[in-house]
């Protein structure tokens, strides 16, 4: 797995942003190589949270300034998450990842259902009802199920609520623009610490439907393995860069 040729192509294409989906070893190597090639100074690297999930420590300083999104991040700074991480580390001698948190949330939901019927699991309808109304105190922030039923973070910290365009208009406030809006919409606690400094420098640009993708290399290369994820370079994206 060697990213140098791809990084060279990225540098010559000069895209607005690079979106890369890697996990595990590939994520560590790509993020480190990307930073070592100096690309992170001019072309922001974004990706799904798997790019940094469980790999932040190995990536070290190279992960500084990455912007990733997922329903959980290692650095969520709230008392519940800090306690969860400490307890998990103590019990399993390893850092929890997103799957650990998912399992923890699912178990809490099950417990809420089981407690409501005092352990009598034959009362299926009551269990379901209890789970639907349960308020789960998750390491990624409190949530409850909505009608769908999907986890719904309707108990987000106050700074994240009512800061959208509609809410502010209703109160006669000017809708927030760009960076300020992003800051208001995403509670700081939901972002990993490392992402925050740079996240505030992002600004939401105009969304372009169906992002045209331009593979910077022939689509049928064999050198990197057929099933290996490769960075996709988008030429026009949702986020712009503000210096």
């Amino acid at each position: 797995m060697e990213f140098q040729p791809l990084l060279t192509e990225i540098a010559s294409l000069k895209p607005d942003v690079v979106y890369a989906f890697f996990a595990g070893g590939g994520a560590v190597k790509f993020v480190k190589d990307y930073a070592a090639a100096g690309l992170n100074k001019t072309i922001p690297l974004v990706g799904p949270g798997f790019l940094t999930d469980g790999t932040l420590e190995a990536q070290g300083d190279a992960a500084q300034g990455l912007l990733t999104t997922m329903h959980y991040g290692d650095g969520v700074n709230n008392p519940k998450n800090n306690a969860f991480r400490a307890a998990y580390l103590k019990a399993f001698k390893t850092e929890p990842d997103v799957y650990a948190v998912q399992g923890y949330d699912a178990a809490q939901l099950l417990i809420a259902g089981a407690n409501a019927v005092k352990g009598d699991m034959s009362k299926r309808a009551e269990i379901v009802k209890a789970m639907e109304t349960a308020k789960i105190d998750s390491p990624r922030g409190p949530f409850a199920l909505n009608k769908a039923p999907q986890p719904d973070p309707r108990h987000l910290p106050a700074q994240g609520r009512g800061q959208g365009e509609q809410g502010r208009r209703r109160r006669g406030q000017e809708p927030l623009r760009s960076a300020a809006r992003l800051q208001a919409l995403i509670p700081r606690s939901a972002l990993p610490d490392r992402a925050i400094d740079r996240a505030t420098r992002f600004t939401i640009g105009r969304a372009i439907p169906a992002i045209p993708r331009c593979p910077p290399y022939p689509s049928r290369t064999s050198g990197y393995g057929r099933n290996r994820a490769r960075p996709e370079v988008a030429r026009s994206v949702l986020v712009g860069w503000q210096r």
Binding site: E2, S12, K32, A36, T42, C214, P216
Partner: protein
């Protein structure tokens, strides 16, 4: 740059709904500068592969042993670089200690297992060395765990040389290339210009005759195997800072 203007045009045509090919990285449009950088990338990676493969060829070429577990030794090197550099705080110290340890590992393996294979056929060597892969994977899992690790580039080599406005080349990769070239030279000198090299070459062509001349061929083979293991481990240690240290490293080689 030629490539980017070409791509932009393609994209805008696609946006207007015109049927055009999705391929836009036309190699002919690659300018000479990009070509040279890619050449540098290729040479650098080739040198690293040489370093990894040198131990394999040494063991196969001289001893006639098909060593499937070579990737495992590469992995052992990478994990040693991670463990020892976190213990000592210095990659260079880790490499020195790691080379010594891998030589010892090679000597023990040759004495305990490989030395019984010289008179047997290649299939049995394949079986044993494949078994070694599994053993090393499990040992790695038991000792270090299954997490992904990274090794920091030593501070002294942690710079980069700007090549274009956007791209720079890490100094550590140049260092790696220099180390590979130096090692190639040293190997040449060892095999072709020293007395030990002469014994190794003689042993490769006729084991019994060398033995009859009063040379300790068992010891020579043991040293060659240890050298092969050390080369693989050394390659793993040198490559660790530009790679990630993770499970299944061995099987990727």
């Amino acid at each position: 740059m030629a490539v980017s203007t070409h791509c932009t045009r393609r994209v805008s045509r696609r946006l207007r709904g015109m049927a055009v090919s999705t391929r836009c990285a036309n190699p002919e449009l690659m300018d000479i500068y990009s070509f040279l950088i890619q050449l540098l990338n290729g040479v650098q990676y080739g040198l690293l592969l040489f370093l990894v493969a040198s131990g394999l060829t040494l063991i196969f070429g001289i001893m006639g042993i098909i060593n499937l577990a070579h990737g495992s030794f590469y992995m052992v090197g990478a994990y040693m670089a991670f463990t020892l550099s976190s213990l000592t705080g210095n990659l260079f110290v880790a490499i020195v200690v790691g080379v010594v340890l891998s030589v010892l590992l090679g000597i023990v393996l040759e004495w305990a297992l490989i030395s019984h294979l010289y008179k047997r056929d290649h299939l049995e060597q394949v079986l044993l060395t494949y078994g070694l892969i599994l053993v090393f994977e499990e040992l790695r899992s038991l000792i270090v765990g299954n997490d992904v690790h990274g090794v920091a580039v030593p501070a002294i080599l942690d710079g980069s040389i700007p090549l274009t406005a956007t791209l720079s080349y890490p100094v550590y990769r140049l260092f790696m290339s220099a180390v590979c070239l130096a090692l190639a030279g040293l190997l040449y000198l060892l095999i072709h210009r020293t007395r030990v090299g002469m014994m190794i070459r003689a042993g490769a062509s006729n084991r019994e005759m060398v033995s009859a001349l009063g040379l300790n061929i068992t010891l020579v083979y043991r040293l060659v195997f240890a050298l092969g293991v050390a080369l693989a481990a050394f390659a793993g240690m040198i490559a660790a800072p530009v790679s990630s240290v993770y499970p299944e490293w061995a099987r990727r080689c």
